[in-house]
């Protein structure tokens, strides 16, 4: 696999093997009856991270979050937060706060009372509570809404009240369950950046559960992809997208073209894969942990494929097809290319020229080509 540029370890503690994790989840399993909701998950999360747990419904991501908050006890395994074993520690004694998917704002209290609730439980002096509430209200830009009740607020305002309330006790770790799930698309995009900004200003460690991969990609410092209660992959957004470790991860994040192939050449510096589905050889410009004649999969993102009318040079990484369909999205177009084998490739092209009259169009025979590092070889 290609080496990625090394970035200073101080901003990415997960790349520093001697860094001490802030949250350490070791071999945690949670069973409901006979069903494994979370199966043997081990995960280290570092201070100041914005870690996203990404997965479909029933992947165990929310259960893992609830175990961190203390609402569920692990069946086995251990959770440590800031070096402290959390086994048997009640939710109200944990240095953790949570923002709920439904926001869970207390309907019989106004915004100020909602935010102050946690502070009152800590028996802070009244003046300090008032100061802190005012500070939080201005942080989430709701200064004029303190006296309103939750049902007098819009969805976006409620989301911000929930955030303010969960930050009120200055937790070292904030858990967010689908924080933007209930907002419409436009509001979600705005709020995403606000959330990151708040996280960076306060330096709180965030663990976010989401099923929205776009949200995870734009928010996270690292993503943990979950599937059937297990962690399928942990990595930075670029790792997850560009270097998926399995068919599941490649298919779960973004769109991907996946073909089956058989290894014909296995060298230290390159691999050649013959794919009947693709109708050509795939030349991979780096060594892969595989054996000759092994059947494996090769995945490539739609934007990594180039289209041309003339046949490019080379005996590999070129295949011929017919433009079957074009989806015009404005900024880019999605081409569906029908190959001779009957396999369809999805190719995206950025529309850099305005109203290009020379653009490749329907029913045109085209060549698809890609760089020898563009795809991922997957064995599982």
């Amino acid at each position: 696999m290609a080496k990625k540029p090394q970035i200073a370890a101080d901003t990415r503690p997960w790349r520093d093997p001697s860094a001490k994790p802030f949250v350490r989840i070791s071999n945690v399993t949670k069973k409901f009856g006979d069903v494994y909701a979370v199966a043997d998950v081990s995960l280290d999360i570092y201070k100041g991270e914005l870690f996203c747990l990404l997965g479909g419904s029933g992947s165990g991501k929310s259960t893992l979050l609830r175990m961190l908050a203390g609402f569920e006890e692990p069946t086995s395994g251990k959770i440590e937060i800031d070096g402290q074993d959390m086994t048997g520690v009640a939710p109200y004694n944990r240095p953790v706060n949570m923002m709920f998917q439904s926001y869970a704002l207390f309907p019989h209290m106004n915004v100020e009372q909602n935010i102050a609730y946690g502070l009152k439980r800590d028996h802070l002096p009244k003046a300090e509570i008032a100061d802190r509430v005012a500070e939080l209200l201005s942080l989430v830009k709701l200064q004029d809404y303190g006296k309103r009740r939750p049902d007098q607020l819009s969805g976006g305002q409620r989301q911000r009240v929930a955030l303010a309330r969960s930050l009120a006790k200055r937790p070292k770790l904030l858990l967010l369950d689908e924080p933007l799930g209930a907002l419409d698309k436009k509001l979600r995009e705005e709020t995403q950046f606000e959330l990151v900004k708040i996280q960076e200003t306060l330096g709180v460690t965030f663990i976010v559960v989401t099923h929205d991969q776009e949200e995870a990609m734009s928010l996270a410092t690292r993503i943990g992809v979950m599937n059937y209660g297990e962690i399928a992959m942990i990595g930075e957004p670029t790792d997850i997208y560009e270097f998926p470790n399995s068919k599941f991860v490649a298919g779960f994040i973004g769109s991907v073209n996946m073909v089956e192939g058989v290894v014909t050449e296995d060298e230290a510096d390159h691999v050649r894969i013959r794919s009947a589905e693709l109708g050509c050889d795939i030349f991979v410009g780096h060594g892969v942990d595989c054996a000759p004649n092994q059947i494996l999969w090769w995945a490539i993102r739609p934007e990594k494929i180039a289209l041309s009318r003339e046949r490019p040079e080379g005996d590999a990484n070129v295949t011929k097809g017919l433009v079957e369909d074009i989806g015009y999205l404005g900024d880019m177009s999605v081409y569906q290319i029908l190959l001779d084998s009957g396999k369809r490739l999805r190719v995206t092209q950025t529309n850099t020229v305005r109203g290009n009259p020379d653009a490749i169009t329907w029913d045109e025979p085209v060549f698809c080509t890609w760089h020898n590092d563009a795809g991922s070889v997957l064995t599982v």
């Binding site: 109200y92 953790v96 439904s102 019989h108 439980r121 607020l153 309330r165 006790k169």
Partner: protein, 269 residues
């Protein structure tokens, strides 16, 4: 669409059917005549007579006390029962409990009354408690069947209670007891109020069960009225009924206002 005459007419007929007897009762309570069915002029003398009748007043006071105490006992027990049924999804005897709790709702009063009487008599001879029958046994009996009503009302409110509200409070540092008093109780309060009122009304209204389990000197208001009416309806019963209707109407009105206030208000633009 043209407004039909059918629905309004039916609605009016319905209201007449429901309220005409009550209105006639209120009107005739101000009747001058001793005969209940003949109007001979306006007077408040039956109210005067009522307040001069110690038996009637004593029974009314007893009934109100019984209703208040048994509604309160039923409220506490019924709420606990509802919480157990809604919150603890699986426990030994859950099906039995949920079935048993709703049994008094469908059980004929005669059977409830008779079985309670047998129980009290049996307990007295074995345990020596409750000694004799009277106010205490009526309260016990009323609490039992009112509890079933409270449980049903509170259960439905708890069933659509968002559990994450309690978790959120716990997450913010509240112990389970605190969570109950700070969050759960205020939110289910409307159901508690209506449960209590329901229990109060049912207890005030009950004749059959009370007749079985009451003893000498502890006749409730319905029992006194019933025995009086057997000897011919006297107009002071009308006066008493009017006062009770007034109290009930006031109670319902207060409860409605309370519920409207605690209900989420619509967002103002």
């Amino acid at each position: 669409m043209r407004r039909g005459w059918f629905l309004p007419t039916m609605a009016i007929l319905g209201f007449v059917f429901l309220y005409a007897p009550i209105i006639s009762l209120v009107v005739f309570s101000f009747n001058e005549s001793k005969l209940v069915t003949v109007w001979s002029g306006f007077s408040t003398k039956w109210y005067g007579e009522l307040f001069a009748d110690p038996q009637m007043l004593g029974a009314a006071w007893l009934s109100l006390r019984i209703a208040a105490v048994s509604a309160t006992i039923a409220l506490v027990l019924g709420t606990l029962c509802a919480i157990a049924l809604v919150r603890f999804r699986r426990f030994r005897g859950r099906t039995v409990l949920s079935g048993m709790v709703s049994a008094p709702l469908v059980m004929p009063d005669v059977i409830t009354g008779l079985s309670l009487l047998l129980l009290f008599v049996g307990m007295e001879s074995i345990l020596g408690w409750p000694a004799g029958r009277g106010m205490l046994t009526i309260i016990l009996a009323h609490s039992t069947f009112c509890m079933a009503y409270v449980c049903v009302v509170v259960q439905s409110r708890l069933a659509d209670f968002d559990m994450s509200l309690e978790e959120a409070a716990m997450d913010l540092g509240a112990t389970p007891a605190r969570v109950f008093f700070d969050i759960t109780l205020p939110i289910i309060a409307p159901a508690l109020v209506s449960g209590w009122l329901l229990g109060f009304t049912l207890s005030l209204d009950d004749l059959v069960i009370a007749s079985f389990v009451s003893g000498p000197g502890s006749s409730t208001l319905p029992m006194v009225i019933f025995s009086k009416v057997k000897l011919g309806v006297s107009p002071d019963v009308n006066a008493l009924a009017t006062i009770i209707i007034g109290i009930v109407a006031l109670g319902v009105f207060a409860a409605t206002i309370f519920q409207l206030r605690s209900r989420p208000k619509k967002a103002r633009a």
